[in-house]
């Protein structure tokens, strides 16, 4: 976890973030600045950094360690020369998603959206899309917790319009 790039002897500044459930996380400044929401908090107010606690209203403390870990690793990947082999990034990403339920994935997507980090948001929404690829309509509804609001007639009409797309779906 220790980054070899921080060779300077000055102590890395820390920023305190407060998750939705009140738990505090002390985060190195560059990692915290990966989040646009945190960054914008300090714009024009850099002096406040030391003692301000940034409230993250939509992020539960359950997901904070994983999210911070993602930022740390990916910012290290970006900085490294030569760039890390694709397999290394892929291995990290796969490990990140392992054992995450669909519900946890959705919660993290909402967290990434709130934190306004494109890289994490893109990664997670892509992962969600991969989980519903080839799945039946019923599966996708359950995945998102969406209720069917079509009348049977409407549904039949849409099905007829898109008949060509319904072959070859996986069984749930």
């Amino acid at each position: 976890m220790a980054s070899s790039s921080s060779s300077s002897s000055t102590q890395v500044k820390k920023i305190t973030l407060k998750a939705a459930d009140g738990k505090h996380f002390e985060v190195e400044e560059p990692v915290a600045m990966e989040m646009e929401t945190v960054k914008s908090f300090f714009v024009g107010n850099e002096d406040a950094m030391k003692d301000m606690v940034v409230p993250l209203l939509n992020v539960s403390s359950e997901h904070m360690p994983a999210i911070l870990d993602f930022y740390r690793n990916h910012s290290e990947f970006r900085k490294r020369t030569p760039p890390p082999p694709a397999e290394e990034v892929k291995a990290f990403n796969e490990a990140f998603l392992e054992n995450k339920s669909d519900e946890q994935l959705m919660e993290m997507i909402m967290a990434a959206n709130f934190l306004n980090t494109k890289e994490l948001l893109n990664f997670l929404t892509e992962a969600a899309a991969n989980r519903i690829k080839n799945k039946s309509v019923e599966y996708v509804r359950a995945f998102f917790g969406i209720e069917n609001d079509f009348t049977p007639e409407e549904e039949a009409r849409i099905r007829a319009e898109n008949e060509w797309a319904f072959d070859g779906l996986d069984e749930d």
């Binding site: 519903i132 309509v137 509804r141 917790g145 969406i146 549904e155 898109n162």
Partner: protein
Amino acid sequence: MDVAYALRNEDLLQNILSRLPTIHFASATRVSKFCNLILYQRKLETSLSLSSSLQFVVQEVLDEILSDPIRPHFTIAYIGTSAVDGMIGIVARTGKVKEASVLFMHSIREASVSSMRAAYME
């Protein structure tokens, strides 16, 4: 239900669904009215292949067009050896003018076509 509401509110559902290739997306239209609405947004897609094999050209162009969610109402195809001037249209979804300089095959949606006609007429 809570999650679905939040996803929908923040455009996140659209973000996820729009990553599905067309074939999968088309099936997602049946999930709910909102999902169907996302697909109804018009857009203009163009693709170009320079291969000399006709079969390969068609496959390559179709694969590219269908890699994003689109409901192709019809396609305009140009296959030939001489260059065409191209085509300029307004992408109805974004309102931006888009130019496809050389077209071999063109997959397009109705509204895009009517706005292209309008653009030509003006």
